[in-house]
């Protein structure tokens, strides 16, 4: 049962923030886009958003990414022409949360991903509020900004620590192995 009173300590929160931040930057870099985090609070109304849930024995929640069509199109490399921007936005959320999942796995934390839902509109607004359990990250790129929210709840007490003996067998993004 989810316990509202459980929270991450300061070191764990810092590690979680680093995981999310580095996953976002790495995802964008893999698409050839430099993304730099800005401390500016999210106020923009965006054209696209995707929501993807996750659940595990220690934490559960959802990730939301919002951005405009221009950045969405720029992230879709090797598509050969017409891009289904809404479908791709769902896949962006999937791949981004997948990176976070693999980084959490390196800390011994396992989560399962749900299927993403993508939304498009003229000026999307959200009800995501400021909370210690909602980590928000806004990045600037040459194609526009994007914001990522990581809304989580602890199912059981969780500590993330540097120096954790990670599993070196975790497969990395872009890796291909034949058996």
């Amino acid at each position: 049962m989810v316990c509202q009173s459980l929270t991450l300590d300061a070191e764990s929160t810092e590690i979680l923030d680093d995981i999310i931040n580095s996953a976002c930057v790495a995802f964008m870099a893999a698409q050839g886009i430099a993304a730099k985090r800005t401390p500016q609070a999210e106020t923009e109304l965006r054209e696209l958003a995707a929501v993807i849930g996750f659940a595990g024995a220690q934490l559960r929640g959802s990730l939301v990414i919002t951005y405009d069509n221009a950045l969405a199109a720029a992230t879709c490399t090797d598509c050969g022409g017409t891009v289904n921007i809404l479908d791709w936005t769902g896949e962006v959320a999937n791949q981004l949360l997948g990176r976070i999942k693999n980084k959490l796995l390196a800390h011994g934390v396992s989560i399962d991903l749900c299927t993403p839902v993508a939304l498009s509109g003229k000026k999307l607004e959200s009800t995501i509020g400021e909370s210690v359990a909602v980590r928000s990250f806004t990045f600037n790129t040459m194609h526009g900004a994007c914001t990522v929210y990581f809304d989580y709840r602890l199912v059981e007490q969780l500590e993330l620590r540097t120096g954790f003996q990670s599993d070196s067998a975790i497969r990395q993004e872009g890796e291909l192995v034949l058996f």
């Binding site: 893999a30 698409q31 879709c76 090797d78 598509c79 050969g80 891009v83 289904n84 479908d87 791709w88 769902g90 896949e91 999937n94 791949q95 949360l97 997948g98 990176r99 999942k101 693999n102 796995l105 396992s110 991903l113 299927t115 599993d167 067998a169 975790i170 497969r171 990395q172 993004e173 872009g174 890796e175 291909l176 192995v177 034949l178 058996f179």
Partner: protein, 122 residues
């Protein structure tokens, strides 16, 4: 022309994989979930390789893999998983279920093409 089945619930990923493979000279067919993928495999004996996502609605990739490999006629059909998952446990599960490879998204086109060429016997 060797035929490859691409199974992924994202139309964009199917488009990306399909483009890489068709530019390399392969014929590409698509499915949006494991159930449709399994149906295509059962009905098309000309398939040379399958590239399959793991997390999909209706039937996930591991379930499709197990269902397909339960039919001895597909024992030699190479199936490679293409997924965001990096868990060694899941990789071993797929290997034990008969998968021939594992790719973590985003894929590199040149690696994907080389792998398919090797598996399809091109």
């Amino acid at each position: 022309m060797k035929r490859v089945l691409v199974v992924d619930d994202s139309a964009t990923v199917r488009q990306q994989v399909g483009l890489a493979l068709s530019q390399a000279g392969f014929d590409v067919v698509e499915a949006a979930n494991g159930a449709d993928g399994a149906d295509i495999i059962e009905s098309d004996p000309s398939l040379a390789t399958v590239i399959c996502d793991v997390n999909m609605p209706t039937m996930n990739g591991i379930e499709m893999l197990k269902k397909v490999k339960a039919n001895g006629q597909h024992a030699n059909l190479p199936i490679v998983m293409l997924t965001t998952e990096g868990s060694p446990k899941l990789v071993e599960q797929a290997k034990a279920s008969g998968a021939k490879g594992w790719i973590v998204k985003p894929f590199k086109a040149e690696l994907l093409v080389a792998a398919v060429r090797k598996l399809a016997g091109s």
